[in-house]
Each structure stands twice: as C-alpha cells, then as structure tokens.
Amino acid sequence: MSSKSVIPVLRSLLSEYRQASSYTKLQESPLVSFILQQYKKYKVTDQQLCKAQEEMNFIAESYLCYLKSQRCYEEKWKMYHAKGERSVRDTADLVGFKLPHDPK
C-alpha cells in the first residue's frame, strides 16, 4: 500500500480528533503520539515492506469512521431532537420568504 492512500487517512483522523478532544495542542495528547508512533513503525520505505500496514490502515480508517459518525450524529441530534415543529420564521427563512412585518 502506497503512502498516497495512507496519509489522507492520517490527516483526516487528526482533524476529526482535533474537533473531538479538549487538547489545544495535539502533540500533548497521548493518543496522537501513539498514532504517529504506529504510523512510523509500519511505514513502508525502500528498505522495508510491512504487510501489517494494510491492517493498520484499516484500523485507522475504522477509527476515523467512528469519530466522524459520532460527530455527525451529535450535530444532527442537537439540531433536531425534541425541537418540535419549525416556527413560522424558521420556515420563512428556509424558503427565503419574508414575514409581513419584516423590512423590505
């Protein structure tokens, strides 16, 4: 597996983790240092070919999927759960209309 398909997964994994975690500096997080260490360990170079890299990439993709789905779920949950029906103003905004007493 080339680094071309591995690096984007790492990037999006770190960006998802940044949104989820409370760390302001990602380097301080033990999880991030562990992930980077694993990526270095299973790196394919000219000298070595690591078969476990494919497995590691799958795990990284799974974790990325976990964080991403969790975040999307929470966003949608916050937007819709127990909100009831939309108000007249929300509906008007949705379709781009103005209410009668709004300024032209």
Partner: protein
C-alpha cells in the same frame, strides 16, 4: 410530590365531586405520560489519562480511576483501546453522554458481564442470526429492488462462502434460507477462536447491522464499515431514493449504525491483533 398534591388540592377545592374525579384522572394521566429521564451528569473532570502496570491499562479522570457500572475496576489489556476510551471521555463536552460512548460500554460489558454468559453461550446465540441474516433475504415483490440486492449482495455471499468453505444460498420467500448444522458449526468454530472481548465486539456489531455475514466480512477487512452499513440498509436506501430522504430519521440512524459498527470492528481488531503482546517469561 408536594407540588403535585398542592396542585391537586387546589383543583379539588374548586370543583364539585364529579369534576373532582375527572380532574384527578387528568392529573394522573399527565403524571403517567411524563417520562423522568435521568439527567446526564456534568463533566466533573478536566483531564483524562491512561496508567499502565503489569500489562494492564486503566483510565484516569483527573486523579480518580474509572470504574465500570457495577463498580469493578476498569482494566483493559491493550494500550490503543485504553487510549481510545480515554479519548472518548475526553470528547465529552459539558455533559457526559454515556449512550454514545460505545467503546467504554463494550469494555464495561465484558468486565461486568451483566448477562452472565460464557463465550460459548454468546457464540451460540450469535449463530441464530445466521438464518435470518439481512443479506440472505431478497425482495419478493419488487423486481427492481431484487436486481439491486442481487447485484450488491451476491459478491458478499460468494466471498463469504469461499472464505469459510460453506454453501449458503439466499432466499426470496418468507420461510428464509436453510442453514445446516454443519455450517453453523464451522462458523461458530471460527468465532470461538477469538477471545471473549472480541466475541462481545461481534455481538455488538451483529446487533447493530443485523447481519453476521457482513460483520464477519468487515472483521476480515473485505469491506469497510461504510460499505457494510450501506449494504445492511440497502432496502431503506432504495426506498429513500424513491420517496425522499429525511435527515432527522434516515441520516441519524445511518450515522448511529456506522458509529456502532465502527466501535465493534475496532474493538474486535484491537483485542485480537498483535497489539496484545506478551512479554517473554
């Protein structure tokens, strides 16, 4: 209750006898309809961490050690899982939403084992899913949907049959496919080769997408999680393609299933791979 009784007495004083009983009934109905959910606890810690001793990993919330719901010490045996659980606790904002912490829940389930099931019992109960597997039921009524199911599910079933050297054929009738005892024995032998932690992961994943075949394909890295969830929701996707998609129902359920399956697959991999390294004696 003090408030309720005072409201009730004011209501009663202003009414006559018949009205009083009606008022009581309405009040009772109102009280019954109200559901008292436990409020989510506030985030009481600032930092989460992982401590390591004798090959065991524990999670710390500030100075406190994390415990399971039954009060047992929360001990896991590999570092990435411990780090992921700590990250999950760290991801909680003001309130702790335990229902979305699937990795923590899985670990606690294994440690506490609230249903008191052995590994063998668990595998046996998982075998019941094979006969009613989602990908084995093809549509009887709609030919368009049937073609889609055939196109998407057949490669999965073929791969599964080849991988485990069994023969399972999908069904188009309500009785469902026939799965022989030999096939069940083969699959359960394979599952029993995993440890109890991974088996709990399988149970969680299979329960999320209602398919043993798709979960096994995912655990074997033949398909990824998004594909597995999409395939398990094939009919729903087909119907939403025709009738329209509602974000607060279809998207939410898709995201939740994805999170659940991803947690299960991660859990299986982290508990069965080379991360579980034992030192030489």
């Amino acid at each position: 209750m003090v408030l309720c009784s005072s409201v009730f007495s004011t209501v009663c004083r202003s009414q006559n006898c018949i009205n009083r009983s009606i008022a009581f009934q309405t009040l009772a109905v109102q009280l019954r309809c109200h559901r008292f959910y436990a409020t989510a606890p506030k985030r009481f810690y600032r930092k989460t961490g992982v401590i390591h001793s004798n090959g065991n990993y524990e999670i710390t919330l500030d100075q406190r050690k994390l415990k399971t719901p039954q009060g047992n010490p929360f001990i896991v045996h590999n570092e990435p899982l411990a780090l992921a659980v700590a990250a999950e606790w760290d991801a909680q904002k003001e309130k702790i939403q335990r229902s979305t912490m699937h990795l923590t829940a899985l670990c606690s389930t294994v440690i506490d084992n609230p249903t008191k099931q052995s590994k063998f019992d668990l595998v046996q109960s998982l075998m019941n899913f094979l006969e009613t597997d989602t990908v084995l039921f093809h549509s009887e009524e709609e030919d368009e949907l049937y073609d889609l199911q055939k196109k998407e599910w057949s490669p999965i079933i073929d791969w599964f049959c080849q991988r485990y050297e069994v023969s399972i054929r999908p069904s188009r009738v309500i009785e469902g496919p026939v799965v022989s005892e030999e096939i069940k024995a083969t699959i359960s032998r394979h599952l029993l080769s995993y440890n109890i932690w991974a088996i709990h992961g399988f149970a969680f994943g299979i329960d999320a997408i209602k398919s043993l075949i798709l979960t096994l394909c995912c655990a074997d890295r033949y398909i990824n999680i998004k594909t597995a969830v999409l395939l398990s929701r094939l009919e729903e996707e087909y119907q939403t393609g025709r009738w329209g998609r509602v974000e607060w129902a279809h998207d939410i359920s898709q995201m939740e299933t994805q999170a659940r399956l991803a947690a299960a697959i991660l859990f299986i991999h982290l508990n069965s791979s080379s991360y579980v390294v034992q030192a030489k004696q």
